[in-house]
Amino acid sequence: MKHRSALWFWVFVGPFAAGLALFTYVPLLWSVGLSFFDAQNTVTPTHFVGLDNYTAMLRDDAFRDSLKTFLVFTAFIVPTTYVVSLTLALMVNRVRWARAFFRSVFFLPAACSYVVAALVWKMSIFSGVRFGLANTVLGWFGTDSVAWLATPDPPWYWLVLITVRLWLQAGFYMILFLAGLQRIDPALYEAAAVDGARPGWTVLRHITLPQLRATSVAVVLLLVVNAFQAFDEFYNLLSDARGYPPYARPPLVYLYYTALGQGQNLGLGSAGAVILALVIAVVTVAQARWLKLGRTDADG
């Protein structure tokens, strides 16, 4: 009987484990291996270069700039998404009628592809010509058209990048907050009301936010990791057939061009990927420790 259940375990788990190993772990280990070789235009290099690719990547201004781009993006997107999704969750949680409708409306963008959304933003809403939606609205007020994605000063492209991601992901995090809100014991709010706490900011600050602590920690961690992995909207909004502007190039876009562009420097690209993975791991662990992720009150 025990033997049979083990067999069924592997029947169901085996294909997924094999897929995971074949398409994730093997390429991952291969990539780490490549990072120590001169792997230009080859995935089976022979010339061992030690840490040369790592030092070259760390000295590369463009790679360091891409990390700065990520920091700016994170500084915008994490707090903005946090506030917007929490606000949406609080509003939807209070709604007394058509609750399912509002939840669906705000959640639906999460089902949309980043590529599709980026193209809608680029070609329809924030097109730089006078008949783009945003420019049409500006035109009503007699303002000149703005080349939203082509102007680094002022950096309007950030508005496009932030709004598209916000539209796509706020609904998902709203659902997480909604789940957290529904786990809060209503007796706490009743007790607060009895003690004279007025509904609004006081209750939010002293009851809702502390009760949502675990959810908030998870949301912030997910937001930071997702921001590090930003690629789709950056690439689809800002690249063209000839390249990509240096002023908004996040790390993954830079590594894509290094390893998979015509240069095909897979050694250098792999070194960059390892560095990026280490940065994400360090930031995530530090953040988790700082926010005391996984600890209960009893743990102190």
């Binding site: 463009a62 082509a150 057939a241 390249g243 240096p246 095909q264």
Partner: protein
């Protein structure tokens, strides 16, 4: 050993599944003999795909399957050349790293008798160490289209110097029409080395050194920033420089685009347009136009290298009727063979004849030694100069250092 019906069915299903997973890579031997996979990037002109499939179907020594590949074609081929499932024959411009890495096959012997008939402007960038790594298919070039009526209304002459271009773009700009469209990135991508050529400089010299370590480079590139600060440039158009839509829709009075756009512009604007090279700048400058050509190349990982070479020779060396048809019947290109270009009636009059003349007199091809890393460094600097107002001198100095290091790297591999 007896095989049960269930076992036989299971084995059959397994084999079927494996076969389905394998797919048709276009490789291996078919019934009629050798099978070759040939890749083309997606051309915009109607009829081109059918034409190349018709040529392939007419080849009787191998079964050639044509793949028409949309998207980021150069990156697709670069990745495919690393694997055994890539194409046998592909159109593209083999990079120096691909040649030095042994990813493409030497095709020198295919041109033994006709090498002199191929336009040197496009054959030279396919040549390395005296060997030819791609057979040029057609010549493409870029040029400046201008709307005669708009220039006349503004009292502007077609610009022949870079200063005149900056001035004309400013005078042609109003609340609805911009003076000039150089692409949504302000020209950094498409112009590449053309402004340097217009200043009398090169990207890489004939003896393999950095060709723009000169004060003229910073002076010329700095002028492109004026176009941006004057708000004379169209930015954020629905389609990029390669599509003449912005020019045809009246969003811009002048547009930098390709020769391929000429038939469409001619059809919609009639005689109300002219073509110009990128105007000269400085005392040693000269007008410039970029020329380029995809070549037909053979993957070194092909299991049928000789058959693939034979096919390339048949298609792009022997069948001149196909070459002429491919260059002139669908889009608008200059045949890579000088003899074909000379006799093409479509290239003898009007702006088409001007374009051919500009190619001959002022054409510059991107040198093979100009690597993707050099291109990225230069293009980044150009974006910073044009849009960010970065100091051209320091930007050019940094690019010269980077390109110098790249040239040293590729020379070491020689």
């Amino acid at each position: 050993m007896a095989v049960s019906r269930r076992g036989l069915l299971g084995a059959g299903a397994g084999v079927g599944l494996l076969a389905a997973c394998g797919g048709n890579t276009g490789r291996g031997d078919g019934k009629g003999g050798t099978r070759l996979a040939q890749w083309y990037h997606q051309y915009g002109e109607a009829g081109t795909e059918q034409a190349v499939k018709r040529y392939a179907a007419g080849y009787d020594k191998a079964d050639v399957s044509v793949q028409w590949r949309p998207g980021d074609y150069d990156r697709q081929t670069a990745a495919a050349l690393l694997t055994d499932s890539g194409p046998d024959v592909f159109e593209g411009s083999p990079t120096l790293d691909q040649i030095q890495g042994g990813q493409v096959v030497d095709l020198t012997d295919l041109l033994d008798e006709v090498k002199d008939d191929f336009n040197p402007a496009v054959l030279t960038p396919k040549t390395y160490d005296g060997k030819i790594w791609g057979i040029p298919q057609v010549i493409d070039m870029q040029l400046l289209y201008y709307r005669k009526s708009l220039l006349k209304a503004a009292g502007v002459e077609p610009p022949t110097t870079l200063d005149a271009l900056v001035d004309a773009a400013k005078r042609l700009t109003d609340s609805k029409v911009k003076g000039l469209f150089l692409g949504n990135d302000g020209g950094a991508g498409v112009l590449a080395g053309t402004p340097l050529n217009a200043a009398g400089l090169q990207l890489v010299t004939d003896d393999g050194k950095v060709g723009f370590d000169d004060p003229a480079a910073a002076r010329t590139l700095g002028k492109l920033h004026h176009l941006y600060t004057d708000k004379s440039l169209l930015l954020g158009a629905p389609t990029d420089w390669s599509d003449p839509a912005a020019f045809l829709q009246g969003l811009t009075a002048m547009q930098w685009s390709g020769l391929w756009a000429l038939p469409q512009i001619s059809k919609e604007l009639g005689d109300d347009f002219g073509v110009l090279p990128f105007p000269k700048d400085g005392p040693h400058g000269a007008p410039a136009v970029p020329v380029g050509a995809y070549g037909s190349a053979v993957s070194a990982r092909s299991r049928h290298r000789e058959a693939a070479k034979e096919y390339v020779k048949w298609l792009w060396v022997e069948r001149t009727d196909h070459q002429e048809d491919f260059a002139l019947s669908y889009g608008f290109h200059i045949p890579a063979r000088v003899s074909l270009a000379r006799k093409a009636a479509k290239l003898r009059s009007g702006p088409a004849a001007d374009a051919v003349r500009l190619t001959t007199e002022h054409g510059h091809a991107q040198p093979l030694l100009w690597t993707p890393a050099s291109q990225t460094a230069y293009q980044d600097a150009l974006v910073r100069i044009i849009k960010g107002g970065a100091n051209p001198e320091s930007e050019v100095r940094a690019v010269v250092r980077k390109v110098g290091a790249e040239l040293d790297r590729v020379k070491k591999k020689r």
